[in-house]
């Protein structure tokens, strides 16, 4: 590989990943590496955690430092235990829309509620693309996907709203054409000593493109992302919907971080010696 950040931070044997050509996951990882590099962090400082699906598989084992790929939806549960045991590391938890907005939403909500000091990058290709393109809770309404052949009739939602309501101290959303704002946002998210959620929507040519857009052309799929970021098509007409991007909520460092809370509790309660806590045992 020739990307100098990849040389610095990634594992040569795992690149190129199994990603389809034109997939946005590698772009987003490149931006995450830039954010980490600009903050001056090293492979030893940061732990990557991923889930299952395209985002999980394509990110897993790429990072040069310690990393884990949890079961589907449970990366944040593993991260909760890890953060308590190793609180000084920076945790970048990269999960897909399935992991964050479907099977793992409970853990997402509770990690936000606890203000766990991790940065969740939810890379959202608006479907379960790894299994062939079934719709997900973030698929645009009415879109045809592999399991919504008559158009998606289930209502969808934005996980940003959910984590903000649950108590996340940093919430932001960008798309896979907003590289400079996304890198800035990711830097701010990483610097929040609390729960940060960065929602990044990106293109999937092979499955979303095939079913929802009727084309696997990489340029057309990325252009679709760009149009729904600005709200305007190339011919000037408005798109069917537009994503609200930017920093949606920034209360960085305003609430106690979860592992700090438990450490302080232990510091207050710790007994002088290691034995049963009984009146006739010196307590």
């Amino acid at each position: 590989m020739a990307n100098k950040l990849a040389v610095k931070f990634l594992r040569a044997s795992q690149i190129p990943t199994k990603a389809c050509h034109g997939c946005g996951i590698g772009m987003l990882e490149n931006w995450i590496l830039q954010a980490i590099d600009e903050l001056g962090w090293t492979c030893e400082d940061v732990v990557f955690g991923t889930g299952i699906g395209c985002v999980g598989r394509q990110n897993y084992a790429t990072w040069g430092g310690d990393n884990f790929g949890a079961t589907h939806g449970r990366a944040l549960a593993v991260a909760t235990g890890l953060k308590l045991a190793q609180p000084d590391k920076k945790y970048v938890i990269i999960v897909g829309d399935g992991d964050a907005a479907a099977i793992g939403t409970s853990h997402l909500v509770h990690a936000a509620r606890r203000n766990l000091g991790v940065t969740v990058i939810c890379e959202d290709n608006m479907g379960y693309e790894s299994t062939g393109g079934q719709f997900s809770p973030t698929t645009p309404m009415g879109y045809v996907m592999n399991s919504s052949p008559y158009g998606m009739v289930e209502p969808n939602f934005d996980p940003c709203d959910l984590v903000k309501a649950a108590g996340a101290t940093f919430v932001a959303e960008h798309t896979s054409v907003q590289y400079l704002p996304a890198i800035k946002t990711i830097k701010r998210a990483l610097q929040n000593d609390g729960f940060s959620f960065v929602h990044l929507r990106f293109q999937c040519n092979e499955n979303f493109g095939q079913y929802a857009l009727g084309t696997r052309d990489t340029l057309k799929n990325l252009a679709w992302i760009e149009e729904h970021t600005t709200g305007r098509r190339a011919d000037g007409t408005p798109t069917d919907f537009v994503w609200q991007t930017g920093i949606k909520h920034d209360a960085s460092n305003s609430r106690p971080e979860f592992s700090a809370i438990l450490r302080e509790l232990a510091a207050r309660q710790q007994l002088p010696h290691n034995g049963p806590h009984l009146p006739d045992n010196g307590h």
Partner: protein
Amino acid sequence: MPLFGKPKVPVKAPGQYAVILSREMCKACGFCLNVCPTDVFEWDKRVNSAGWFPVRVAREEHCVGCMLCFQLCPDFCLTIERKTDPAAVEQVRAAIATWRQENPDAEVLVTE
């Protein structure tokens, strides 16, 4: 403002940037070639070992350092460095050379 399909523009001060591209990593998505405003890239007629016809750097001197290709490449194929800072370019080349020494089994060919 569309990403692709805009006309290529002429370069006023050519030769300022080095464009280092890995042809073995390239999966021929076409983003760099189509987004580059100054027509640096073209399609390579030789296939790489993964079966893709990758992009190659045809007119490195046209590069103006906009970094669009670097930011949009999904497969870590590119580094853009100011040639007027030869130390920076050398640093990147040295890092890549060291990495290639440490990873002899990685099949990577770097075109410059």
